[in-house]
């Protein structure tokens, strides 16, 4: 369905600017909103005990990066209203499609039964409250990623729903995702032809840096790029793409300007050390360019646009970048103004739309 049909009376958008937005956060407004999708046991637990649902620590509620000023939805948190999403993103941005990334912090639940029950509830809530109500949306399966077998079971349960195109995994995990303990989960993701979407944040309990716990959220935010880099190292080195050759991985809210230097270092180490990981038969950068895509927010742009063009060129692939608004989160740079405006039209349109359509098979 096109925007013109959906919202008559609006100025027709430039067809050249058609976009697929690969990161829109849909937020569960409250634990009670999940009650229709939870068993009586969990409804009672929430109403009668001190357990009130997940303990989300990835985004400080009122930090300037967490929400755009106008995105607060009545009584609900920013990102919790479909109506507001239509008004603020789907219609004005002329989106063909938007991919929802629901960051419900299932990985904060140590109780495995709760993790399984709440993941299922969130997915049923996404189907009923978002996918069935808005044809321009696709969504990401929420799973108990800390329990790979249970995650695989949930992917099995809802993975055939045509609205789900991705499984969302927090970038901070208790073991790197290349570790074999995660194979059942990635096997299910690959079998259901979904994308593994690795996203900023997570609650594994271990520190977010290789050198312990930092003091400030600002540090965690900056350091998260390093966690993405480490996961890329792990996934390629430990042979996830060799084990599951059709697996596709998206890095969501990772930034991308760090990636060229990381590929150079990784390729060099592979040349020296590849006999330790003989299944890795090509340079890591070749696996990365084939299997991995990266959303453009946060942009982390250099002051000089020429240098930003250099970085994009250094990816050595026009297919890797995916447009994302990251609604309702706030970033310093605007993807259109600060990135796409500086790129050739052909490449900009790939980033706006074509790369996502091909990668997510939309």
């Amino acid at each position: 369905m096109t925007v013109e049909q959906e919202a008559p009376g609006r100025a027709p958008r430039e067809t050249g600017r058609a976009r697929v937005d690969c990161e829109i956060h849909n937020v569960v407004p409250s634990t009670e909103a999940l009650f229709p999708y939870l068993s009586e046991h969990w409804r009672e637990s929430v109403t009668q005990t001190l357990f009130k649902g997940v303990a989300d620590a990835s985004y400080p509620r009122n930090a300037p990066t967490t929400a755009r000023p106008a995105s607060k939805a009545g009584d609900g948190p920013p990102g919790s209203s479909l109506e507001l999403l239509r008004e603020q993103v789907l219609d004005p941005d002329g989106l063909e499609l938007g991919i929802l990334t629901c960051l419900y912090a299932i990985d904060s639940l140590r109780n495995p039964d709760a993790a399984v029950a709440f993941a299922s509830a969130v997915n049923d809530w996404q189907i009923a409250e978002w996918l069935e109500k808005e044809p321009r949306l696709r969504a990401s399966v929420v799973v108990p990623s800390q329990l790979p077998h249970e995650a695989a079971r949930e992917i099995e349960r809802v993975g055939d729903h045509p609205g789900f195109v991705q499984v969302l995994l927090p970038i901070r995990s208790h073991l790197p995702y290349g570790n074999r303990i995660h194979h059942p989960m990635f096997e299910a993701i690959a079998r259901k032809e979904l994308v593994a979407g690795l996203h900023f944040g997570g609650h594994p309990g271990n520190p977010p840096t290789p050198t312990g716990w930092p003091s400030y959220y600002l540090e965690e935010y900056v350091d998260m790029a390093g966690v993405f880099a480490s996961q890329v190292t792990s996934i390629v080195s430990e042979g996830l793409f060799d084990q599951f050759p059709s697996l596709r991985v998206a890095l969501l809210e990772a930034g991308f300007t760090w990636l060229p230097a990381h590929m150079w270092r990784f390729d060099k180490e592979w040349r020296n050390l590849r006999r330790l990981v003989p299944w890795v038969r090509r340079a890591p950068s070749a696996y990365i360019r084939e299997h991995i895509r990266v959303t453009v927010q946060p942009l982390d742009a250099p002051p000089d646009p020429r240098q930003l063009r250099q970085v994009v060129e250094e990816l050595e692939s026009e297919e890797m970048l995916l447009y994302a608004s990251d609604y309702p989160h706030q970033h310093r740079f605007d993807p259109e103004r600060d990135l796409l405006a500086h790129l050739p039209d052909g490449l900009a349109n790939k980033i706006r739309r074509e790369n996502a359509r091909a990668f997510y098979r939309l």
Partner: protein, 363 residues
């Protein structure tokens, strides 16, 4: 770049390069027994009875031992004989100064008092068996950085010997390096004009990723740049450089990551600066004033043009790039073949010599 060219293939020698200051030169212990003459009886007995215990669980056997061609005739470990090192490397490679970085278990001891005793022993050993042997050696002060009062005491013991130019941290201390716990160490460094150096590897029990322990040594060997970035982020954003006029030197972490880290810190700071009101400038300003990075193992894009782009992105920060060989380790960079491009002479002069000469005040 791996040290040796394939057999039968002629080594490509680039035009004569300038004399150099090697900012990552390892003085090796043949074994811990080298330190025994410098350890008090009480700790010698302790080591014999209980050993040196560091947080367990981070066992990633090195790929291979040190360069076999650097082994002294005595058969001791490569890099463990100062006189042989001078003959084998310092003389032929035109090394004006070599900054010694001793890798020992000092910083990772669970028993902090043993860590302090080991630090003193390592430093006495460096004076007697290295610094006194050749005037071209400069050294890093081993400190038990998880025990700042003991570390400060050790700094005080060494500070008058100007051949010690910096203090040594591992790659992954127990807390990010900007945390206040470590500030007394920085205060002492500032008082004595010493720099702070963090050398890749070594941890106090944390995995090399922000997402747990990886499986293979190749991951352990790619990871130090992420660890050092976290240390730089911490020192900048905690405001260490607002408090102390010290320089921090990243060693064996590569250096291609520094431009994008500056961009990312600046972008995030513009939105979140209310959390860190102690910072008076953009984060990249503090990097410009205080952060240095050594070359090995340098990022090597397969297109030379990208390497030049990276240097261009460094801008005036190219004055902060220091040549390092990592002699005598397996992944050592041959000073004549380390760079994937031919550097312009002026830049070569800076990276091999001038930047380090200015930083370490070496003539």
């Amino acid at each position: 770049m791996v040290a040796s060219a394939p057999r039968g293939q002629e080594t490509i020698r680039r035009p004569a390069r300038p004399a150099m200051i090697d900012c990552d030169h390892h003085n090796e212990l043949d074994s811990d027994a080298d330190l025994y003459p410098y350890l008090p009886e009480r700790w010698l007995e302790h080591v014999h009875t209980y050993g040196m215990r560091s947080p367990a669980g981070g066992y990633y056997p090195r790929f291979m031992p040190h360069r076999e061609d650097a082994r002294p005739p005595s058969g001791r470990k490569s890099g463990s004989d100062a006189r042989f090192t001078v003959r084998h490397f310092i003389e032929p490679e035109k090394v004006a100064y070599a900054i010694l970085i001793p890798l020992s278990g000092v910083g990772s001891q669970q028993n902090l008092a043993l860590g302090a005793a080991l630090a003193t022993a390592v430093n006495e050993w460096q004076v007697a068996e290295w610094l006194d042997v050749d005037p071209r050696f400069r050294a890093s002060i081993a400190i038990s950085f998880e025990d700042p009062p003991a570390a400060v005491a050790e700094i005080e013991r060494r500070a008058s010997d100007k051949r010690f130019v910096q203090v040594q941290f591992s790659g992954r201390p127990h807390e990010p390096m900007g945390r206040r716990k470590y500030w007394p160490i920085y205060e002492a460094c500032a008082r004595h004009g010493l720099h702070v150096m963090s050398h890749a590897f070594g941890s106090y029990g944390q995995p090399i990723t922000g997402a747990g322990w990886p499986s293979y040594y190749v991951e352990e060997h790619v990871g130090p740049s992420q660890a050092m970035q976290a240390n730089v982020v911490s020192m900048v954003l905690e405001g260490v450089f607002e408090q102390f006029p010290i320089k921090v030197i990243s060693v064996e972490n590569g250096f291609g990551w520094l431009p994008s880290l500056c961009w990312r810190m600046d972008a995030a700071w513009h939105l979140l600066k209310s959390e860190v009101p102690h910072l008076k400038h953009e984060p990249s300003e503090y990097v410009r004033g205080h952060v240095y990075a050594s070359t090995q193992p340098m990022e090597e894009p397969h297109r030379p043009q990208y390497f030049f782009q990276m240097l261009e992105q460094y801008g005036d920060l190219v004055d902060h790039i220091l040549f390092a060989s990592d002699y005598p380790h397996w992944d050592y960079d041959d000073p004549d073949q380390a760079f994937p491009v031919s550097l312009p002479p002026e830049l070569q002069q800076k990276i091999y010599f001038e930047n380090a000469a200015r930083l370490y005040r070496l003539g």
